[in-house]
Amino acid sequence: MSIFSSAVEKPISTMMVFLAIVVIGVYSYITLPVDQYPKIDPPYITVMTTYPGANASDIEQNITKQLEDQLNSVDDLDEMTSTSSDNLSVITLKFEWGINLDNASNDVRDAVDKTMDALPDDVDRPTIMRMSTSMMPILVYAVTADESYTGLYKILDDKVVMSLNRVDGVASAYVAGMPERVVYIDLDPNKLDAYGLSIDRIGGTILAENRDVPGGNIKVGIEEYTLRVEGEFDDSEQIGDVVLAIGDGKTVKVSDIAQVRDTLRDISLEQLVERENGAILLVTKTSDANAVQVASDSKVVIEEAMKTLPSDIHFEMITDNSDFIIKAINNLTDTLFYALLSVVIVVFVFLGRWRSTFIIAMTIPISLVVAFIYLAVTDGSLNTISLMSLSIAIGMVVDDAIVVLENITKHVDRGSRPKEAAKYGTNEVWTSVIVTTLVTIAVFFPLTLLPGMMGIFFKPLGWIICISVTTSTVTAISLTPMLCSKILRLREKDQDKGKKYSFYNWSQRMLDSLDNFYERIVKWVLKNKTVTIVSMTLLFGASLLLAKLISTEFFPQNDQSTLTVYAKMQQGQRVEETKRISMQIDSVIRANVPELRILTTSYGSEESASFASMMSTTGSNIMNMRVRVVELKDRDRSVFEIGDDIRKMLKQFPEVIEYRVQFGQNGSTGNTVDLEIFGHDFDATANFALEAAAEMKKIPGAEDVIISRGDDKTELQLYLDREKLARHGLTTAGVGSMVRTSIYGYRNSKYKEEGEEYDIIVRLKEEFRHSISEVENFIITDGYGQKVRLKELGEIREGYSPPSITRKSKQRYIKVTVTPGEDATMGDIADAMKEYVSNVKLPQGITSLYVGGTYEDQQESFQGIILLFILAMLLVYIVMAAEFESFKMPFIIILAIPFAFTGVLLSLVLAQVTMSIVSALGCLMLVGIVTKNGIVLIDYTNLMRERGYRLYDAITMACRSRLRPVLMTSLTTMLGMLPMALSLGEGAETWRPMGISVIGGMIFSTIVTLIITPAVYAATDKSGSRDKKKSEQAQYRFMDEFDAERDLPEHKKNK
């Protein structure tokens, strides 16, 4: 027994099966986490090494180069870039997408281990991190306080940060610019000299004293005791009491020659919230954690903590990534609901009957709910991509049910009992229903094969559509006939005729006149085939010219109501000056951006390389600003327009050398075009970069032109005289390390208090190391125990060094990064840049130029999409050729596809939307929908031909009778996408292009399909069928002598 007869015979079982699916689906829906995008595990591993006190060149030569040589051989490595800056080497390894990052991390660790011997001794062990975009902060708070400000950091650290770090999924919570506690031991060099002590020795003594040593167990009587030697300092005061030497019966204590300060680390980073002192609390999540979940858990923790905090401490949200995600997802869910509603309305208008509409509408939730089950099983989430896929699917899942229902209704109208009609009606159409589904799958299945980052986004889309369309087919041949058998009612033939105001009669009348109108068009087209085909081809050709008007973009950017401003001023500028200018910028922004909600500013730099310093560039001449504007619905300007405005304001400040305005959190994945300048020589590359940057600024729409390497900064260089060194039994390394301990300090020992460890820094007092002459007067103990002044060994010169050295694939390079402004796109900028690259003469010292950045990813992705098109077209051709048993028919159908693109181009131009991955994806979907229309027309025409109608009659009849199904499938898809295209709320930038391109493409291609398909069919078929007759005759020789005119009796001749 076939599936549909079983379904009709056992309505309760059928209902229960679908009920079970719905129950599981709804359960899955409830448990699904919410996220912005599908889970991404970006294939980046970062190796971070700190070597305090070294400058960029030292770091490059001694650390980065060594590590790079080993890391270069790691498997599956795609690209290696590095930045060597003062104190810090950061190597970023980009792997192929989709590899196992655990294995990769292990390989990286092995490579680092091999390098360890080659690295300088006092280098900290390199940290290996899986760096990803999701490590960007998901929550940023501005914290302000009145009376408690002095203790704010300590309070935050104790009460908030600690508990936040315990939250599942939080990678780290930290307070930006939080001062650290340290114990300074400031030595007086004259006293050292007097007592004959060296810094190393003092440091060594403190280290040796600050020890707890377990002494073993001793047994006393019946008891057993452990014996411990207790030396660790319980109080930083105790450090002063450490005895360094005994001379002449007198003890020399630390406090005699040094000042012990238990204090905060000297920092110069200042954080302002709304022009007042405050702190910034950042929470980042691990890459596999769910942003919404982590954010809500963290908020609970902060709520809890706030109860115990002093009442004057206030938290103000600057960035809440989860808020945006939730709003965007809600927005999309609304869109989905409107799509459902409009599909139901279309079905009602066409069928004109409530009962039928209800039956069709039932298939929608069932097909969608199965998609939720798929998501739950594959560990997916409710995200932009999955909900977008569902929106697309809504218009498609009703098609099969409509075909089945139409056929059943036909039988019912003929007077069959609904139960019989359901069985036999389904039997007649079920194979063709499955074939149309196969075509849809042929288009969307290739999406599931996409590799790389595109795959992560579009695999779910492919699967969801394939699965929901398959489900809709199964539903159409089981649930739909069952419901028909129960719900449809036998009507007396003329029941409706008497009713004047029946909606059914009205809608059918309207549709009838539409049918007649279309029939007239088809007749005209058949008479003027050549005119039609030629004019359509010209139209398509003309539309290609429109492509020039459309700019391209990688991925549409979202308005997340936040932006960050980075401004760099003169290298070496004092923090006070940076503060003054920052306050001016602050005032200008306040005066000119009425949408402003909260603004935080920070300037100055943190001393050591911290986690936070990887997130943003700091420096005494650098200002970083976070701006939050009011909610999207409360303002007219987009955050991008505001950003452009702020850029204009920054241009007014002559002090600001470079500036960058970024939107949302994903600053690193923003749309940028990079000019990469390779060359070893610093001066040559720097000069060329400056020149190039000046050229780039001339490109219209180019904003935020940033040179990756900052200006050279002054440094003092100590040149030692080797002869003198030798005479004193010294080496450069020895002198170097003595200088290092004097200035940077001896930092091996830690002071412990309440479970926390703080550095003990032994070094010269500030006043003895703050001028060149002081440094020249450093006393060095030579190899013979004699004391020499540093100036006797060499001289100190002023020099310049680059603040950071960036390398890619082991070669030095500088990047000139350009961000397209509001009225330009990456494509434009990249074109201008390419032209520059091809025309410019490379000066000496520049090895090569290269245009990269996000633009490169965009190119790769578009290539991927084109490949996908070809694959989809081939699969569609295969399915159709098999269905029609013809090589020719699929071509007639595929012919309509280019016209869909005409529609896409037209709509993109009209709606002022860019061509991005999303709109390209819309084009891909069109392939499936357009071919479906063609199939419906061609299939029926073939049917009419087989039934013996003459060519033109067959075409006209087929077109007339298939107009409604074609319009219906097109309209359901279009109206399903309409809410997407019109959506304006949070996150709408992502899916609007998809809606617009699909609707534009659909309108155009539907009209074209309806006109050009009959014309092409007629043009190609003629000769074929005449030949067929002749070859048929040849096979039946035994009837050669038959002549219809002569042999047939009169009454037969006229038939």
Partner: protein, 97 residues
């Protein structure tokens, strides 16, 4: 009106269709598979292991003047290869709805 029943090896189906279409005989009923044996020689058509071939059959009701024409071409078809076998039987129609 006469009823003509044509019984033939199913391999001849397309050729019989051709005769009917050429003679513009539009009304007929087909029995796609029938078993049977001829009384004047010919192999049994039983669809069994021993006799795997099968016959097909048409029953068509035609005007009297069409009968001879139809039989003429049935006979011609039979002569193309007699191993296939095709026979036509004609009887009267006394009443019709």
């Amino acid at each position: 009106m006469k009823a003509v029943m044509i019984i033939f090896n199913q391999a001849l189906t397309e050729r019989v269709d051709y005769i009917l279409s050429q003679l513009r005989i539009t009304g007929y009923t087909q029995f796609p598979l029938v078993y049977g044996v001829g009384s004047k020689g010919g192999e049994p058509r039983m669809g069994t292991h021993a006799w795997p071939e099968m016959n097909s059959s048409y029953l068509t009701i035609v005007e009297d003047d069409m009968v001879d024409l139809l039989l003429k071409y049935v006979e011609k078809l039979d002569h193309v290869n007699e191993e296939n076998g095709i026979r036509a039987f004609v009887w009267d129609i006394s009443k019709m709805y």
